[in-house]
């Protein structure tokens, strides 16, 4: 009797407390995901249809989407706009990080700058897109007014009508919304580096530039990779800004992959099966790109070290065996 009370097992509470999460995940996350995959192989199209049949050629939707010029264009746009925003975003964030964490400079007002740089990130993207649509108005609009006043342009520019200016504005909005976020994450990363490393470098007479490139940057590698992958996953699903800014126009120049999926299913054509197939293709592309990034950016130094350690252990073992024998 006594022994039984002493070994009360609390394990069941582990299961019990996880039930709400697991049930919700199965119903609202996993099931829709599997359902999307299934729809990708069927003839489900048209509003209000519930009866679906598998296609004779199960990969028909995938083939059609893969050969669809608009889908390819959307993938191209998505990638272009992401790159156009990510490179300047990372560079500016790194530059600001280098300045804000420089121990010899002590930049004042950092708290205020961080608050202001991060601010656009929490504002509704839909609102920001419409705001920028008005700001870049043609022929009269705040941006055109400012540019004319400073004499940077001679006549008003119609930003919404040309492919590259439209893409440029979308990329700029993404940059503007996210560089502050990236900067704060990088600064947190630098603050996590052992300060004795910097002290030692300073005693050895390293310059601020040397310290940044030789100590800070290599130590930030994991965090930079994390930012790169999360930004890529987010960027490949870019929807709010291009949708609200110009609905993917002009001439599909800002049509992104998710916007393409949305248009297939929800803007009049009800091609749920094609949209599902495009979703799965997009998912596969994201998965492949993430794996490539992880592979390219993997820590080669650490791997080498591990391999060496393993070798050492093996030879130790062999030596010990030799002794025993």
């Amino acid at each position: 009797m006594l022994a039984r009370t002493r070994t009360i097992s609390y394990a069941k509470y582990g299961y019990l407390f996880s039930i709400p999460f697991v049930l919700t995940f199965l119903i609202f996350h996993l099931y829709p995901m599997i359902y999307t995959v299934v729809i990708g192989f069927t003839d489900l199209r048209g509003i209000g249809r519930t009866e679906i049949n598998f296609l004779e050629n199960p990969f028909e939707n995938f083939r059609l989407i893969f050969n669809n010029a608009t889908f390819r264009r959307a993938m191209n746009n998505t990638f272009l706009i992401w790159i156009m925003n990510f490179i300047p975003q990372m560079l500016v964030a790194l530059l600001l990080t280098a300045w804000f964490t420089n121990r010899n400079l002590t930049v004042r007002g950092q708290g205020m700058f961080k608050v202001l740089f991060y601010m656009p990130n929490i504002i509704t993207a839909a609102t920001i897109a419409i705001l920028f649509q008005s700001l870049f108005g043609y022929p009269k609009g705040p941006i055109n007014d400012v540019f004319l006043t400073f004499g940077w342009i001679e006549s008003p520019l119609n930003f919404h009508l040309q492919h590259w200016t439209a893409r440029g504005v979308v990329a700029f909005i993404q940059f503007w919304m996210w560089y502050g976020h990236t900067m704060i994450i990088l600064i947190a990363g630098v603050l996590g580096i052992n300060p004795t490393l910097f002290e030692a470098a300073e005693i050895d007479g390293a310059t601020a530039t040397q310290i940044f490139f030789r100590i800070t940057l290599p130590r930030l590698k994991t965090i930079v990779l994390y930012t790169l992958v999360t930004s890529m996953i987010g960027g490949m699903q870019m929807f709010d800004i291009p949708r609200m800014f110009l609905w993917g126009g002009p001439d599909n120049a800002t049509l992104t992959a998710t916007l393409f999926i949305y248009n297939q299913a929800f803007s009049g054509s009800y091609l749920y099966n094609r949209a599902a197939a495009a979703s799965i293709l997009l998912f596969l592309i994201i998965a492949v790109l993430s794996s490539i990034l992880f592979f390219v950016m993997r820590d080669r130094g650490a791997e080498k070290l591990k391999r060496k350690q393993r070798q050492l252990k093996r030879s130790e073992k062999a030596a010990r065996k030799g002794v025993v024998l």
Binding site: F28, T124, A125, A126
Partner: protein
């Protein structure tokens, strides 16, 4: 001599830094400043000079035009508030509970379950949009706010965060002494563990709330009934033809949707910035 030239070059560097930082700060403020000011300016004024740095007198007129059409900020506010509050509560409470289950108890499937959470952490949500829509259509939940709230109960990233937080702060002795005092496991979680987790819950609550407040994709595919519109969907009405020439009203409508976020942000900015930084360190 060398000392002097070093101070000079340092001053130049510092000037460059401040100039760029102030430029970026202005870049953050300028669009919103123009928006707030133009919200008080008449359409004619805006057509003459699109940038007004000072407020004007047409706020009431703009308001009347804005409210006279389809855009209804009060309905948007109410629905967004319901969705964001509900989703935040569900996500924070149940993520804490699941995180606690992963830390406080040793059960057979604990490690596999955690590995599973790590695996689905980065799966993009919009990918399953089509299946989600069809599912909601079949159970007649299109134009309901429930599908925007309930899925938040399973937020893998937050479970991960809560688990890390508990590992770092919770001593299982507290749980043991509660057991000796005869407290039930669920009671212990609610009365003893939750208060310990308050700082982590507050940070996560802010970000979840903002995320659901700003969310566009799922509400856009589900909600067609105007009385169910959340704020971002309501905003999209400003893009339509009926407000084409009413510049002042459009700016006012945008301002109304941004204002609550601005108030929250400037009250909590310290915690928000700290929370973003914390997100980096959990890696």
């Amino acid at each position: 001599m060398k000392e002097q030239s070093m101070t000079v070059s340092r001053n130049i560097t510092k000037t460059v830094i401040y100039v760029l930082c102030i430029f970026l700060a202005v870049l953050s403020i300028f669009p919103f400043w123009v928006m707030f000011m133009n919200a008080t300016r008449g359409t004619f004024e805006i057509q003459q000079h699109s940038v007004g740095l000072l407020p004007s007198t047409h706020l009431i007129d703009n308001m009347r035009i804005l409210m006279g059409k389809t855009f209804d900020p009060l309905i948007g506010f109410k629905n967004s508030m319901l969705v964001s509050t509900g989703a935040t509560f569900g996500a924070v409470y149940f993520s804490s509970l699941t995180g606690y289950a992963l830390v406080a108890y040793s059960w057979k499937l604990r490690q596999p379950f955690f590995t599973f959470i790590m695996a689905v952490l980065m799966i993009p949500a919009q990918i399953s949009g089509i299946g989600f829509y069809q599912f909601m259509y079949q159970i007649n939940w299109v134009n309901s706010l429930w599908p925007l709230i309930l899925p938040a109960v399973a937020t893998p990233a937050m479970v991960f965060f809560m688990r890390q937080y508990l590992i770092a702060t919770l001593s299982l002795d507290i749980v043991d002494s509660a057991r000796i005092d005869g407290a039930g496991e669920f009671y212990t979680f609610n009365r003893i563990i939750l208060p310990i987790m308050k700082p982590a819950m507050a940070t996560q609550a802010i970000f979840t709330f903002v995320f659901h407040w700003n969310n566009l994709f799922i509400p856009l595919i589900l909600l067609t009934d105007r009385s169910k519109y959340t704020m971002p969907i309501m905003v999209s009405l400003l893009r339509g033809d009926i407000y084409r020439t009413e510049y002042g009203s459009v700016y006012l409508g945008l301002s109304l949707t941004v204002l609550p976020l601005f108030i929250v942000y400037f009250m909590l900015s310290k915690y928000i910035i700290a929370g973003v930084a914390l997100g980096a360190l959990k890696e």
